[in-house]
Amino acid sequence: METNKYQGYRDIDFLKDEDFLRWSLFKDEDDNTYWKNVMKENPELNPSIEKAISLYNTQIRLNDYFLTPDVIETHHNIFFQRVWQHKKRRNLYLWLSAAASLLLLFTISQVYKHTEKQNLSLLEFVKANPFSEDSSSGEIQLFVSSEKMIKIEEKEPSISYDPDSIRITGESVAEVNTSEYSQLIIPKGKRSRLTLSDGTTLHVNSGTRVVYPNRFTGNRREIYVNGEVFLDVLPDPDKPFIVKTNDADVRVLGTKFNVRAYEEDHETQIVLATGAVRITSGRNRSKTELTPSQMYYYKDGQTWVTKVEVEKYISWIHGILYAEDERLDVLMTKLSRYYGEEIIYDDSIETQRCSGKVDLKVDLGEVLNGLTFSFPIEIEHENGVYKVRTK
């Protein structure tokens, strides 16, 4: 019998045998059978074979990369330092907003004596007036001052800050209190057009919050955005326009650009249509300048600038959503936000990618059903929630 080739083999000889090595590596069924039989037919070889198995397991290492315990310890400590720094920064914001609220109280009592000066900076006001994200869609809310809030029922109203009053779709609704900040809150499923006091127009997308002064005083025009807006900024060389988001500041002179900075997405995306912008971001306040058709993307401290087809990124203002090799789960998030309806999906759809365009004027149910023709998914609609399941 051929198995006699192993006659007189010591453990090291088995270790040098290719068939033995292959068996040790893969434990394949065929090899298992073979070696079981070898051991059965040649019991005197068993001690050697068993020793060889033990040698393989203890002496042979594949991809034996490792860190020594002290390196691991150092690395572990650095990690937790970063964690504490991150936590401290979050706590600092909370502290700032508490301090800013006190400042606001103090300021109001002084206002009756002094003239219309905005005592709080824009960001202090933003932090002093946090708005908790409402996951269900509701009415659009316009805070024209700290006391007055106007609820807007329209799905896509036009709001304008004219010299004499604030108008919503042509109707005058309030006087412009020049010393105050306004907040526009657009829930999911709604959109709005906003014209600021300087003539700059914004298209505001679903799930967005915009904070801005009723009148731009001083030597700059600053607004705060959490969500997505497309801006057409009126040129004013004496007063640069600055859009502030959580992670970046965008500075422009006269420009059309799209800012996408939803807080829950933890990323910032800015696309320039015409003109020029300068973006400042990150801990080290690094600056990036964009030229038309460029996109700036910021996430987790890293920045990318790429060339894009601008129309695809601003098509939402015309009610069209483009997907360019987009993960299906990301598309679902965008649709859910735009339509203001909840979509639940299996995690596995994130491996699917899609390209194409969606007509947002069409009912969401129809849009989702359309997707079933291209992807292995099933759609259910229960209790107002859409469920996407992979087949």
Partner: protein, 218 residues
């Protein structure tokens, strides 16, 4: 921390293969604490899995600095986002998959990635063989090393990665499929192709098997 310390020491002496020297009972207890957000449990798993992540990162051909940065980024994300895991094995799989994605992001400077994005030649996966000098003598070590390397050299980088993840990191095929960004049939094929390729190098075995089967009636 004393208990954790003792467990870590056991773990240290078995780097290459994840032997559950930590009694699975104790591991489950620590895992349950992790799910509740216990920071000490998080610390434990950081130390427990860092070598597996480091080894995988190096095997993908990425240099030390980038691998270490990526490991920290992955753990930071988990610490603050607190995703839920089904089991310790699931946690390990999640760490390895996230690490690969992070390394790919560094490599390509791309903002998004899912493992289906990663092209087959993005990384150059390699398998390096080490033979300890504790027991086997130098001459024999050289021969064994040569033979193992020869066996593995016939495999493509993808096959090597599949084999590494399956046999050394001990992942399930479903998990392999996700990490490699291919469907389950494809990854099973990768592994079986690898075995067959190695088998082809030897001509002795097939006929032996046939005879063995005939005589023993398996």
């Amino acid at each position: 921390m004393f208990i954790f310390g003792a467990l870590i020491e056991d773990r240290w002496f078995n780097q290459n293969v994840l032997f559950m020297n930590v009694a699975s009972g104790k591991l489950s207890i620590i895992f349950a604490k992790l799910q509740k957000g216990d920071e000490e449990a998080f610390s434990f798993f950081y130390r427990y899995f860092i070598n597996d992540m480091y080894a995988y990162g190096k095997s993908l051909g990425v240099e030390d600095g980038a691998v270490m940065d990526a490991i920290q980024d992955v753990f930071l994300k988990i610490f603050f986002n607190k995703p839920q895991f089904n089991s310790v094995a699931h946690l390990k799989f999640f760490l390895l998959k996230s690490l690969k994605n992070k390394l790919y992001d560094f490599l390509k400077h791309k903002p998004f990635s899912s493992t289906t994005d990663i092209q087959d030649d993005a990384f150059n996966f390699s398998i390096k063989t080490t033979i300890l000098d504790e027991i086997i003598e130098a001459e024999d070590r050289a021969i064994v090393q040569e033979k193992v390397e020869k066996l593995l050299s016939s495999l493509s980088p993808l096959q090597k990665e599949a084999v590494y993840l399956r046999y050394i990191q001990e992942l399930e095929y479903a998990q392999l499929s996700e990490i490699m960004g291919k469907n389950e049939t494809s990854v099973r094929k990768l592994v079986s192709q690898a075995i067959n390729k190695i088998r082809k190098e030897n001509t002795t075995l097939p006929s032996l098997i046939l005879i063995t089967l005939l005589f023993t009636g398996f």
